[in-house]
Symmetry: D3
Subunit: 197 residues, 6 copies
Amino acid sequence: MPRRYKSQPGHRMSLKLPVPPRSKLAPDLQKYFAVCDERIGFLPNVLAAYSFDQAKLRAFVGMYNELMLGDSRLSKLEREMIAVVVSSANRCYYCQVAHGQAVREMSGDPALGELLVMNYRAAKLSRRHRAMLDAAHAMTVAPAEFGEAERASLRKAGFEDRDIWDIAAVASFFNMTNRMATAIDMMPNEEYHSASR
Amino acid sequence: MPRRYKSQPGHRMSLKLPVPPRSKLAPDLQKYFAVCDERIGFLPNVLAAYSFDQAKLRAFVGMYNELMLGDSRLSKLEREMIAVVVSSANRCYYCQVAHGQAVREMSGDPALGELLVMNYRAAKLSRRHRAMLDAAHAMTVAPAEFGEAERASLRKAGFEDRDIWDIAAVASFFNMTNRMATAIDMMPNEEYHSASR
Amino acid sequence: MPRRYKSQPGHRMSLKLPVPPRSKLAPDLQKYFAVCDERIGFLPNVLAAYSFDQAKLRAFVGMYNELMLGDSRLSKLEREMIAVVVSSANRCYYCQVAHGQAVREMSGDPALGELLVMNYRAAKLSRRHRAMLDAAHAMTVAPAEFGEAERASLRKAGFEDRDIWDIAAVASFFNMTNRMATAIDMMPNEEYHSASR
Amino acid sequence: MPRRYKSQPGHRMSLKLPVPPRSKLAPDLQKYFAVCDERIGFLPNVLAAYSFDQAKLRAFVGMYNELMLGDSRLSKLEREMIAVVVSSANRCYYCQVAHGQAVREMSGDPALGELLVMNYRAAKLSRRHRAMLDAAHAMTVAPAEFGEAERASLRKAGFEDRDIWDIAAVASFFNMTNRMATAIDMMPNEEYHSASR
Amino acid sequence: MPRRYKSQPGHRMSLKLPVPPRSKLAPDLQKYFAVCDERIGFLPNVLAAYSFDQAKLRAFVGMYNELMLGDSRLSKLEREMIAVVVSSANRCYYCQVAHGQAVREMSGDPALGELLVMNYRAAKLSRRHRAMLDAAHAMTVAPAEFGEAERASLRKAGFEDRDIWDIAAVASFFNMTNRMATAIDMMPNEEYHSASR
Amino acid sequence: MPRRYKSQPGHRMSLKLPVPPRSKLAPDLQKYFAVCDERIGFLPNVLAAYSFDQAKLRAFVGMYNELMLGDSRLSKLEREMIAVVVSSANRCYYCQVAHGQAVREMSGDPALGELLVMNYRAAKLSRRHRAMLDAAHAMTVAPAEFGEAERASLRKAGFEDRDIWDIAAVASFFNMTNRMATAIDMMPNEEYHSASR
């Protein structure tokens, strides 16, 4: 039996910030956290981290929910696929763990989560999904070069202008959160690792 | 007398989205746009673009204002300096124009706006500002490599953990908006070019 | 219940090569494959692929076993850790899956496998292991720049010349297999995904 | 009213070299400097810097004038456009400031100068100009890969072999001056900043 | 007459390893070394280095000979051309020297050895050879991006699946040896420099 | 006996330009070419290429001779060493061949020419030369990042400000000629290959 190796010893983020107990948060945020407990089974560490400043937490949650759960012609799984490919390009540990699990769960295909984390080009994807992920990857690693040719590739794969906005918006959002999570060394909840395998 | 060259012919973004007339927006957003008119002298094109979907506009404005105008130990000029350095690394035309102007105006130093757009390393900066901009640049171009050494450099330059959060948050936010603006080919208002020279 | 997404439909490699049935291989290779069945529970796809040419299979197995299982002052887990970090830098799907599982199993720490796949810099590692993985990463992504300074970092972390040889040899070997597996589009056995979670 | 920020405090270059007073220069160089005063309104700092060694100054001026002012089927504005795009790719502060101003002045389009400094791909350009600037950019950032395909793109956009020489010669020249100016930390004259806005 | 400059003073590798005298090696290895003396005129330093551990030496020689001298539809010269292009991309001094000499000798074209070391794109090559070297280069510098498009380019140039395996295998092998030789600072035998000029 | 491979079939440059016979050049240039014949043994192809336009030829020769042959505290060999390292980083075939030969000849050390072409970091160099070549390399591959730290490294290795100018000037010049030679596909004279081996 292997000895237990210490790679992630109960650590949540590197910064020392005055994160309050949940019972001190405003009632609407306490309620939101309770919904997370219920739906996810635990409170994602990112929300705990942001709760040191309730205005920041509200702004983050507002944008996140609009983007990932709001109305769009991209399915929720497609938005999670973009999240993982962007997070893989930026090598954000938190987001690859959390959104990799979401892809495994939503797709019912554990290998898909691994493929998008490790190298999305190795996956057998529909033309629509390959174009979508190529665009998300391109705008992540070479933002200055994204232009009309890249928009044309998306249109050829069947995406309309509103969809292009949404692909760009999700890919851009994770370029923000990836950097934030890495900069403060945020660690994902351990529950993600074994879920949906 | 030079003939007028056509580099930016009255164009605002490449996507065709159902941007409504301002008079059709919800009253709170009409009011917000009126405040922009008043304070800036015109409505920034980014806000006009987002107004095709009022939920997205509210989420964007909410996060932007919290970050750039909210409470922080970073001055507003410092936050604009980060915005320009990140936008320069990503070569986002919209954000370099708009926030370059903000730096020129807030600093009273037209050359500073140019330096941060062109190569912040050429500027004579305080140790605090050099460390702040080095961190913003590093997290933009090599997010996977940002770690304890980079946080230590910020601490040595006098930043506390709360400040590190704010530097990371502003740099991360512009990594989002830069990609969004480039992906949809958003053009800045022409008024920025000659302002604060 | 999610519909089953098709990311990896029973595919083993892109090249059409005359892979024989196991019963046609030379007796020593049949025996070696039987040992694999016994010890691993299945025959790794890489060995099946190489079996189209028994001379190539023998050369590959000879070098692999000497390197990963032979005598060394690096533990077998340490050699697998190097394998994963190199394969992550090169984004080889096959090797990240197969050796990521080996790290999970040998370390008894499922999160460690994920950390090394996703961004080894996010792991809390001993000084020895950080130096070892930094060297393996450096020689993978910037081989031309590896020199006396890099060897000195290894020596400072306690490695002797024989260990430096072994770190270099394992990292170099996976720079070979990563390229080979990606070039022929080799897919890992599905059994790896759920193992040791 | 903003306090004056100190980003460029009266500094011309980092090296301490025996730059003589203009009155000590050879008569032909004194005369050339007087022409600069007359035509530009001031003596560009680059010429002052080179004047510490009159042989170097003459060689530099000889090549510069042949290239930028001599006979060519590229207009002088086109040569300045190449200068800015190359200087932007290399992030040379001096050359972006000085030649960005030249583009603003010669084109009568202040936004064009900004576009070429910030990201030339965001400009609406003729096919000829896009091909010309793509070639200048490619030869700057990936010189080893410039080959027959790149020459063919220029020919397809209407350039003849003599024009290809001239595009290459101007782009190459600024790859020299950009590195020289950055290496010695040469600062542009402040007059450029507000001119032609 | 120039004084003799000291760039490579009788040095073979940086690591201090217990390399035995040849007379202490197993008889089969002594015989193999004698064949090298005979055929090459000297014992390549790489073999001397590996001889500190006879199991490693046997594994290395086994794979090398199978790959470079074994049965293949690639000529031995073609395999050496791949070796040089990969070693040039990785800037491995040992392998560029040794295999550059092999290309000069086998091709009877001294300039070809130089071209492949310095920039293979500058050589006038057959379509087959350009495709072969483009693939070897691509899999060296961007392994994660090698996929169906790259295999298709090889097929269009006339390569069959078995050939693609061989191109990949040789290119991958030198990605291993390049890193190994650089990591231990292995120097090539001086005899190579003047041979086949 | 190997068949003769065709890698460089009597080709001088890709552009078709009206290069005149030498007898039609102005007398001073004819005389200069005769000096080249005498001193080098042949007319370097670069001079033949430039002679399609005598003004360009004069400007080029003027700058080249001032820089490489003029007064400097860098020896002529040191200037050639910089030329080769820059040309290697840019992978310019012409300049690596021509200046590699110059290094072999001036140093009396054939291996030195190879080392600087292939990977200057593998050479055993004096501290002065390593610092000089590190600076030339850095300003070639990352011009935007060259700053006070890089100048300080040169000063620590004993270089004064005048020397820093000269190192920068030579490195910058070859960043020009490398791009020019590659852009027009200029081929070096075959005589260089076997000389000084």
